[in-house]
């Protein structure tokens, strides 16, 4: 092989060289063999797959040139102050630069019903290997990021493992905090939630940077809602404004189960978020919600897939973006109704609130329907608010900045109000509000 080919090959892996991977493997040598094997396979896949190119349909409208993987490193955890996110919790775990901090002292404070497990993935690998094997990154990657999902799987060091047994209901949320600290720090957050038959649980992922430096985040979560389970998931992404972020959501909804997920995006320089919902049995319902405040030159690239694999399933997606400054958003959604998924009820909506004349919103709301007895609709709108409402605000002497904030909250409330938990609603509200005072 000639030298130029080699250098091209290297650029597709960036900082994530075989040497770095070898040192990572050495640092997690205590993990079970099956996991290490999966890591090895994932790394090979990551290295072999090309970076996205302009003609990839699943990267349409995305800025490909800024996806460079150069300049990142695995950093040791540092002492950081926990971010303010005040909600009463049933349990919580915090990870700094991929490592769980003070697990034992935190665990002492948990007051969980018997059978509920909240531990690290590392712990689960030994204590609950079968559950972990069955659910950890077990779902297909269908939204264009096989390469980055493989990168995640290769380098994921730890994460949260949550298991709620049959019939158990947790009222307070479980809060998982993922912190990236230091220049160039690469983090691979992971949260896995298994809600068994007729259980009920709320899990919150909080993604924050300890400083304003450029970091790399490549996270994933696996949500599984068993027969009749009710699972609520909220993710708040508040990485530094210089961070390159990837996040992969996978949701499996079984018979009569209900999953509500809400992802709030405010951080990162460029954030790609992929969310897959599989409705696998009759009565399954997936509600997919997202709110984005896009400011400065941020790019938020959201790709979703609702797959109806069984009859009588329902999905409802509502993604709202507020666009300021020179920000750019992409929403690409697809509803697939399999041939035998009759009586499907699927909805998909993307609303863009344009708050600046330089902002850019791209919508690709798609449908692929192979059953005829269905109710499927989708919609997309992009506009500023009604000029009359704006005139009203101005006539009251409200400045543009303030008006934008008011409009955004008015616009977002439709989504926020769907959360059952009021403290969670208020905590997310505060995260959004902080964006406007910056």
């Amino acid at each position: 092989m000639s030298a130029p080919t080699l250098s091209t090959a290297r650029s597709t892996i960036g900082s994530f060289t075989p040497e770095l991977f070898a040192s990572h493997l050495a640092s997690v040598a205590e993990l079970p063999a099956w996991w290490l094997e999966r890591k090895q396979a994932a790394y090979e896949k990551f290295a072999a797959l090309p970076l996205p190119v302009r003609t990839d349909e699943s990267w349409r409208f995305s800025n490909i040139s800024t996806l460079s993987l150069e300049g990142f490193a695995l950093r040791l955890p540092e002492k950081v102050t926990e971010p303010a996110f005040s909600i009463p919790t049933a349990a919580g775990l915090t990870f700094v630069n991929n490592v769980a901090v003070a697990v034992d002292s935190v665990r002492a404070r948990f007051n969980l019903p018997s059978g509920v497990i909240v531990c690290t993935l590392g712990e689960a690998a030994f204590k609950h290997p079968e559950l972990l094997k069955a659910h950890f990154m077990a779902q297909p990657q269908k939204l264009g990021s096989k390469k980055f999902a493989s990168l995640h799987q290769a380098f994921v060091r730890d994460g949260a493992f949550i298991y709620v047994p049959r019939g158990v209901e947790l009222t307070a949320p479980i809060l998982i905090t993922h912190i990236a600290s230091g220049e160039g720090s690469a983090v691979f957050p992971h949260t896995l939630v298994i809600a068994e038959e007729n259980s009920k649980v709320t899990v919150v992922d909080l993604f924050v940077s300890a400083d304003a430096s450029a970091q790399f985040a490549c996270g994933a979560n696996d949500l599984y809602a068993g027969h009749g389970a009710q699972l609520t998931y909220a993710g708040a992404q508040v990485w530094s404004r210089e961070t390159l972020s990837f996040q992969f959501n996978s949701t499996v909804v079984r018979r009569d189960a209900r999953v509500q997920s809400l992802n709030l995006h405010v951080g990162a320089r460029q954030a790609r978020h992929e969310s897959l919902s599989q409705l696998q049995a009759p009565g399954a319902f997936s509600e997919m919600l997202a709110l984005t405040v896009a400011s400065l030159k941020q790019e938020f690239d959201q790709r979703t897939l609702q797959i109806h694999q069984a009859p009588n399933t329902k999905s409802d997606l509502l993604y709202k973006n507020a666009l300021r400054d020179q920000a750019k958003t992409i929403f690409s959604g697809l509803i697939i109704v399999d041939a035998d998924a009759q009586k499907t009820d699927a909805y998909q909506s993307n609303r863009n609130l344009m708050l600046s004349e330089d902002a850019e919103a791209n919508s690709l709301p798609g449908l692929e329907i192979q059953a005829n007895d269905v109710r499927c609709t989708h919609g997309a709108t992009s506009s500023r608010i009604d000029p009359e409402q704006e005139f009203y605000l101005q006539s009251r002497g409200i400045a543009k900045e303030m008006a934008d904030e008011l409009l955004t909250f008015g616009f977002f409330e439709e989504v926020l109000s769907r959360l059952e938990s009021e403290p969670l609603h208020d905590a997310l509200h505060s995260v959004i509000k902080a964006q406007f005072s910056k």
């Binding site: 004349e357 919508s363 709301p365 798609g366 329907i369 109710r375 499927c376 989708h378 997309a380």
Partner: protein, 481 residues
Amino acid sequence: MANIETLVSEPELATENPVSGIDQSRGDFSYDVKYAFDAGTGLNAATVDYISSVKKEAPWIREFRHKALKIFESKPMPTHWATKDLENIDFSKIRYYLSQGQKPKRTWDEVPDDIKKTFERLGIPEQERKFLAGVEAQFDSEAAYSNIKDIVAKQGVIFVNSTEGLREHPEIFRKFFGKVIPTGDNKFSALNSAVFSGGSFIYVPKGVKVAQPLQAYFRINAENFGQFERTLIIADEGAEVTYMEGCTAPKFSTSTLHSAVVELVALKGAKIQYITVQNWANNVFNLVTKRGVAHEEAEIKWIDCNIGSRLTMKYPGVVLKGRKARGEVISIALANDGQHQDTGAKMIHAADETTSNIVAKSISVGQGRSTYRGVVHIPKHLKGCKNNTECDALLINSNSRTDTYPAISVRGDRNYVQHEASVSRVNEEMIFYMQQRGLTEGQAMSLAVNGFINDLARQFPMEYSVELKRLIDLEMEGSVG
């Protein structure tokens, strides 16, 4: 209600009595026609030279064709987003040029008997033919019949085929030819640019409003013969014109290819309406590029109906170049077994206060697949632009398929865009009610489908909407039960 019986009549009946309707077997016929010029099969530089020589073209057109051929050869098939079915086109087995070597005819008497016979099979009655004086019928590559020209010529309208247009009126057509759709726009526009023949070149002078719609019928009438017509319509300031094209094609066992390029230019305040009823045989690849440029306060409206073909890929577009320009696409697609209607619209806003509207309705029958693909683009620093898009899909059978892939890009806070789509099936109660009234399930389904598209079909000229209704009735036969 009384004429339900005739609408669902047997094909043989229609053939015996052409007055009762358009050929119900949908052009399932062909005649042995002696072609005076035949470029053979396959495509290379010699084919292009041959076509150019036969047409006695100016050197710049020959050069244009050669350049296009290179672009066509260099471009890959767009299968990274389009259907893999495209790979089944064998370009080496296609005839790229056929002509009977006739000059376009002026009167009915001059039209050869065998062509008249074909018309008869199409079901156009003798009296109606005379009435439909504006029919410009393209027999394979060249216009074979035309006399509306005499009427519109008095208004200064130029209505000729592409060869004549480029040869006789280069000062008018050259300026816009290949400008709305550049050769390299896509693989198939490049192909057309290399081998085009036939089609209509129309110029409507300032302020002239053409009362009669200009019409052309296109057919493919030779096995493996691709038809590559090229149409360019220029409406000068304040002019108004409606153009209609419809087509039926003989059925053949091997696939044929139709790849047209249609360019429209509506100058300040002009209006162009372009109506298509496409009913190619089910073995035809129909890969067409259609786009118009609307200048200040101009209006371009595409009314596009696709019923036939194996695969149609067609997304009529409007570039809204001048302030307050308007663009509209009304699209109806019907996909039956073995068919894929991949249609849609493109609206490119390029000036303030431009508005666009897209209404697309599709019906999938049996294993048919209909796809809506759309682009709405509103770039930076425009204000007061509006787009409205509605797509509705109707699925008849449990194995019917529909897809929707819109792409909407908006910049800035002074524009308004909305897109809505829905997928549904025929209301069972409605069918039940109609059956109670004595209709068969098939007839009831037919009525329901016609009702679904009725508000769009009404926008077609009368004879087209009648034809459309009959075609839908025919397609719905045997779709239920």
